[in-house]
């Protein structure tokens, strides 16, 4: 049971840490998305990756 508890706590830790980080990703990308939708990024040169 102790092993199971540790395993579950690790999983929970991963999920919580990941969720907090994902929330930050969501907020930061939302700001970028609004800029893209409103065309604020038009002046920035498009950085296209070379096709590999």
């Amino acid at each position: 049971m102790a092993v199971l508890t540790v395993f579950i706590r690790i999983l929970e830790g991963m999920f919580v840490a990941g969720s907090i980080g994902s929330l930050i990703v969501l907020i930061v990308t939302a700001v970028e998305d609004i800029e893209t939708l409103l065309g604020f990024d038009e002046k920035e040169p498009a950085k296209e990756a070379s096709a590999r």
């Binding site: 579950i8 929970e12 930050i24 990703v25 990308t29 998305d33 498009a46 950085k47 990756a49 096709a51």
Partner: protein, 797 residues
């Protein structure tokens, strides 16, 4: 870049292999529509499956998953900004090697194997539910004949699950045949489906808002551990520990999240359409991704909340669990007939989007298996083209058989299918995000964009955002292994079987490829070029392009060689290496483009040319669409004519129309050319591709002349020319066409076009006429057969 075989003796046949796929590029709206056809379809079943697994609080988890899908989308945008030909196979192979790439493709295949069945069965559930409710309504009004009522022992009802199975099987068989025939799937169709779906979503949301205002709502319990109610099925292997979720708290949240992840299935399609996005690619990819994320959040996430807020608890799961949008339609505020009509509309939209997802699943899995087959992971046997249609029918058969077995095994149970489906979805995403995380350290090339935020500590970049997304995906994938027992067993069995097939095939192929390479070295010299041009082929402008695909039908090549003097005019034999939807996301190596089949095809073509004692140039081009490939190649090579065989699927007129459409879509500068479609009996149909002078009938010429005679007799008009008459007539015609006479003109033209065409065949007179290349055109006009009096481009022999 020269081929590894370039040190060959000069007597070897030289083949130019273009490595850039000839694509027709699409706008971000169309790209978003293609992805949403897959992603949006989950709105029809995801919420029902989640509520059965975790209880009434499920909509919050669907909303959470849809918000999380914004971050998964960000991972795909980063991968596509690194590899134009992204996708899970390419990314995982680059980061983690071939073995894990095979494992990830197995997960992706499991995803595809279930996308088709779950979509087909879900569509069947919506249709069967509508039929039953219509029967109930009709019976209540006494519209059902008494005999039928008594025979059915009450209200006539069909077995919803088996009706769904029959429907799913029918749709799958239909799309199997469409794929065997190789019917081209257009982004236009996807856009139309999404437009109709959008109309439905807007009505649904507005009407739901009105209903909430008029009737109030049922609260959706907050997503706390106390509000979660797992069933023995949704606890899976943990069913002996039913208190675990509440005991640990967050574990229950994680389990519920895991039961809802299938709501974001379809994100992988984003990587597949990336290749075909128009310039500026990255910006358009971002725009498409934003549209996809917002649309699916509103459609799947918000409607999930509305289901619980509006549909009463007594019927939501017991009656409408597999067709919740239909249930929502029935509990909106307003007259019953109007609600039933809207429900019928929901069913039509569900049919369109879900049956489209069945097709997407066949196309996608065919694409992925073609790709791994090309990579030597499956033997060439799978890729062998259909004798008549040229499609990879063995792969399509395999995929469809597996899908049909899945449908039958599910017995129409959407919940079981959904549980299993989530396995493929979550592991495919997990592999992709892990690979992207590894590539942050391994890949030193340019990136167009990175998942934020990223911090630098002691010169090392810490990809906080990417690692966070990976952690959520990994923890969800692991917990799903325990809570989705059927999915775990089915997924692992499927994955192991596919992995074994891939591994064994790869070993068999390794030896075979070594022999094939040796054989190829002996006979062919491959010259790799990024694009198609005249110089590597050493040909002159005004050449004749002969597209070939089936080595059994090379009569058009014989026809061309009989008539063309190759000392004056070059003949280029070209084959388009078609990369189906999905494979365009992946890169092709030289030997993959020029595979066993192309080797056999060109061996036959060279043999035909040798029998005439004439030289032909050989060219292989990878392409997404054969018509674009032919048109672009003819344009790049400055060909004056394209000599084609008759298609097994469409008429020569339709062939010309398709080429004309591809010509119109091609960017400037572009040149006209003639298309000659050669029938097996030697009859030839000739068409002009691009703008050209129309061939006028004798009576029309006389009419113009008579008009000219009369007009030049008028005062001050003695200097008018024949072409002035035509110009004036056309100007007036254009004005009438855009004005009120449009219908009359169209009616008259329909009458004229309905008249039989006298002949389109080219007469044979024994001369050899070198082709003159037509001038470069700036105009943009159509494709039209011009009747019999056009001089033949290739004189008869």
């Amino acid at each position: 870049m020269s081929s590894p075989f370039s040190t060959s003796p000069s007597d070897r046949v030289r083949i130019v292999v273009a490595t850039s796929v000839m694509l027709t590029f699409i706008s971000y709206w169309r790209a978003a529509a293609i992805v949403l056809n897959d992603l949006g379809s989950s709105a029809f079943y995801a919420a029902g499956i989640a509520e059965q697994a975790v209880g009434k609080t499920a909509p919050w988890f669907i909303v959470a998953v849809m918000l999380f899908s914004f971050t998964v989308r960000a991972v795909y945008v980063e991968s596509c900004s690194m590899f134009v030909r992204g996708g899970v196979y390419r990314v995982v192979k680059e980061a983690l090697g071939g073995t894990l790439a095979k494992v990830s493709v197995s997960a992706l295949m499991f995803d595809y194997m279930l996308t088709g069945p779950i979509s087909g069965v879900s569509a069947g559930q919506y249709i069967a539910g509508l039929i039953n409710d219509t029967f109930t309504l009709a019976d209540a009004h006494g519209w059902v004949p008494r005999a039928l009522h008594h025979a059915a022992g009450g209200v006539p009802q069909i077995d919803v699950n088996w009706a769904a199975v029959v429907f799913a099987v029918t749709v799958t068989v239909y799309y199997w045949w469409q794929n065997i025939k190789g019917i081209h799937e257009s982004s236009e169709k996807a856009l139309r489906v999404m437009q109709v779906t959008t109309v439905m979503v807007i009505i649904l949301l507005a009407w739901s808002g009105l209903t909430l205002f008029k009737q109030g709502y049922q609260p959706v319990p907050l997503p706390t551990p106390e509000n979660l109610s797992f069933t023995p099925e949704s606890l899976g292997f943990l069913k002996n520990f039913p208190d675990l979720p509440k005991l640990f708290g967050i574990l229950g949240i994680l389990m519920a999240f895991g039961h809802s992840v299938l709501a974001m299935s379809g994100e992988e399609t984003l990587a597949q359409v990336n290749r075909e996005l128009a310039h500026p690619k990255l910006k358009n990819l971002k725009r498409a991704a934003i549209i996809i994320a917002i649309y699916s959040f509103v459609f799947t996430g918000i409607t999930a909340l509305l289901f619980v807020m509006i549909i009463p608890d007594s019927v939501r799961v017991p009656v409408y669990k597999d067709n919740l949008i239909a249930g929502l339609a029935m509990y909106l505020w307003g007259p019953q007939l109007l609600r039933l009509l809207f429900r019928a509309f929901v069913v039509v939209v569900g049919f369109l989007i879900l049956s489209g997802a069945v097709n997407t699943a066949i196309i996608g899995s065919n694409g992925v298996l073609n790709r791994v087959s090309e990579d030597g992971v499956l033997t060439d046997w799978f890729r062998f083209p259909h004798k008549k249609f040229g499609t990879s029918y063995r792969i399509i058969n395999l995929v469809v058989i597996l899908q049909l077995l899945t449908i039958l095994a599910s017995r129409g149970n959407v919940y079981v299918l959904g549980e299993a489906y989530a396995f493929g979805v979550i592991w495919s995403f997990t592999f992709n995000s892990l690979a992207m995380l590894v590539l942050r350290y391994k890949y030193k090339g340019e990136r167009g964009w990175k998942v934020p935020p990223n911090f630098r500590i002691a010169g090392h970049e810490i990809p906080v955002g990417l690692a966070s997304v990976f952690l959520v995906l990994l923890s969800t994938a692991i917990i799903n292994l325990f809570t989705k027992s059927i999915a775990t067993m089915a997924g692992i069995t499927f994955g192991v079987v596919f992995f074994a097939i891939f591994t064994i095939s790869e070993r068999v192929n390794r030896e075979k490829f070594a022999l094939a390479r040796a054989g190829m070295k002996e006979h062919f010299q491959l010259l790799q070029r990024d694009t198609v041009a005249r110089e590597p082929l050493g040909i002159r402008p005004g050449n004749v392009l002969v597209p070939v695909r089936d080595y059994n039908t090379l009569h058009h090549l014989k026809w061309a060689l009989e008539r063309v003097d190759t000392n004056e005019q070059d003949v280029v034999v070209m084959t388009a290496r078609l990369t189906p939807f999905g494979t365009a996301a992946y890169d092709l190596a030289l030997e993959q483009i020029f595979s066993d089949y192309e080797q056999l095809l060109f061996t036959r073509a060279v043999s035909v040319a040798e029998s005439f004692g004439k030289h032909v140039s050989l060219l292989v081009v990878p392409a997404r669409d054969v018509w674009s490939a032919i048109v672009q190649t003819a344009n790049n090579l400055e060909s004056s004519a394209v000599v084609s065989g008759v298609s097994s699927k469409i008429t020569p007129q339709e062939q010309a129309l398709e080429l004309g459409r591809a010509w119109e879509a091609m960017p400037q500068p572009k040149r006209q050319f003639l298309l000659q479609v050669v029938h097996p009996d030697g009859k030839v149909d000739t068409f002009h591709i691009g703008p050209h002078s129309p061939t006028m009938k004798t009576e029309d010429i006389h009419l113009v002349h008579r008009l000219w005679l009369n007009i030049t007799r008028e005062k001050g008009l003695d200097k008018v020319h024949h072409n002035d008459i035509v110009t004036e007539a056309l100007t007036r015609f254009a004005r009438d066409y855009t004005g009120r006479d449009r219908d009359d003109i169209l009616r008259d033209l329909r009458k004229i076009s309905g008249q039989p065409v006298t002949s389109r065949s080219i007469t044979v007179d024994g001369t050899k006429v070198p082709l003159k290349p037509p001038p470069e055109q700036g105009g943009k006009r159509g494709k039209q057969d011009e009747g019999p009096s056009t001089p033949p481009i290739v004189g008869p022999g």
